[in-house]
């Protein structure tokens, strides 16, 4: 899978999405979720770390071999407290992947548990067309 951003494993800080020419309509941070991608014989698995995202806040779309993953985080501030020390920022997540394998779009499954989104993309079985030969003459 080809993709533009490269995350350093040693950096535990969240990496922001590089701003393209088009700015997002909302203000706020957008981060790149750390992702593991592995491939088995049957499917490609994409596992993204998106802490703070509820199942209804995650959005997955597959369009012409481009998989877009986005997660929205609703920040909750505790009442009556003030932020004294912050090591991480809170924001949405977004990442895009280009798939180089044909995927069976109908059978894609996604699960979001404890902030980890697991997408299973079954590979398309190569269809075999048996072509009948017509006898000529």
């Amino acid at each position: 899978m080809a993709e533009q951003t490269n995350l350093q494993i040693q950096e535990t800080e969240k990496q922001e999405v590089e701003q393209s020419a088009a700015e997002p309509t909302r203000t706020g941070y957008i981060f790149v979720p750390r992702t593991d991608i592995y491939e088995t014989d049957e499917a490609i698995h994409v596992v993204c770390d998106m802490p703070g995202v509820r199942p209804d806040g995650a959005d997955i779309t597959l369009e012409q071999n481009m998989l877009s993953v986005s997660g929205h985080v609703e920040p909750t501030w505790p009442e009556g407290y003030s932020l004294n020390y912050a090591e991480y920022r809170i924001g949405d997540y977004e990442r895009r992947f280009t798939l180089n394998t044909e995927v069976n779009e109908e059978a894609i499954e996604a699960k979001l548990n404890n902030g980890v989104l697991h997408i299973t993309l079954p590979k398309m079985r190569p269809t075999r067309h048996k072509i009948a030969i017509q006898a000529a003459g």
């Binding site: 494993i9 802490p51 501030w77 404890n114």
Partner: protein
């Protein structure tokens, strides 16, 4: 760094250099805490909210088993420990990309006041750990009345 007769001629000329080097290291460590040393940055990153009644600490810990998180609070120190084992892949699976960390972590932070360990409350939801630490009774600020004659 010249040795003048006032110094009495003690010590090697490098002592000034060593003192300067030590002071520079201390300054650098204060401004760039983790980069200068070879130690891995602290995980998980924590945000600390404070109020008069206590502290509220949040940490992003996706994919952890809630039962396996150990939280201990003694006096003014909060320690969070846990483990995220690497996923077991079926035979013949190949990684295209591996960015998510795995392994055990342990982090302690010092709070500005003592907390009551019996009243510490923690919730783990959607991959975010939120710990509420009420301030200890003996550490609450006491109003001191000023007697006027």
């Amino acid at each position: 760094m010249l040795m003048t007769p006032r110094l009495g001629g003690f010590g090697s000329p490098w002592r000034e250099m060593q003192r300067l080097r030590r002071e520079m290291n201390e300054i650098l460590e204060r401004t760039l805490p983790w980069r200068t040393s070879g130690i891995a940055p602290a995980y998980p990153a924590m945000n600390v909210w404070l109020a008069d009644e206590g502290a509220f600490v949040t940490a992003e810990l996706p994919g952890i088993d809630a039962n396996a998180i150990e939280i201990s609070a003694t006096d003014d120190t909060l320690t969070v420990r846990g483990n995220r084992p690497a996923e077991e892949l079926p035979e013949g699976a190949v990684y295209h990309r591996r960015e998510r960390g795995t392994g055990s972590f342990s982090r302690s932070i010092t709070l500005p006041f003592s907390v009551d360990p019996n009243k510490v409350d923690a919730a783990y939801e959607h991959g975010v750990l939120a710990i509420r630490l009420p301030r200890a009774e003996h550490d609450k600020p006491r109003k001191i009345t000023v007697k006027t004659a």
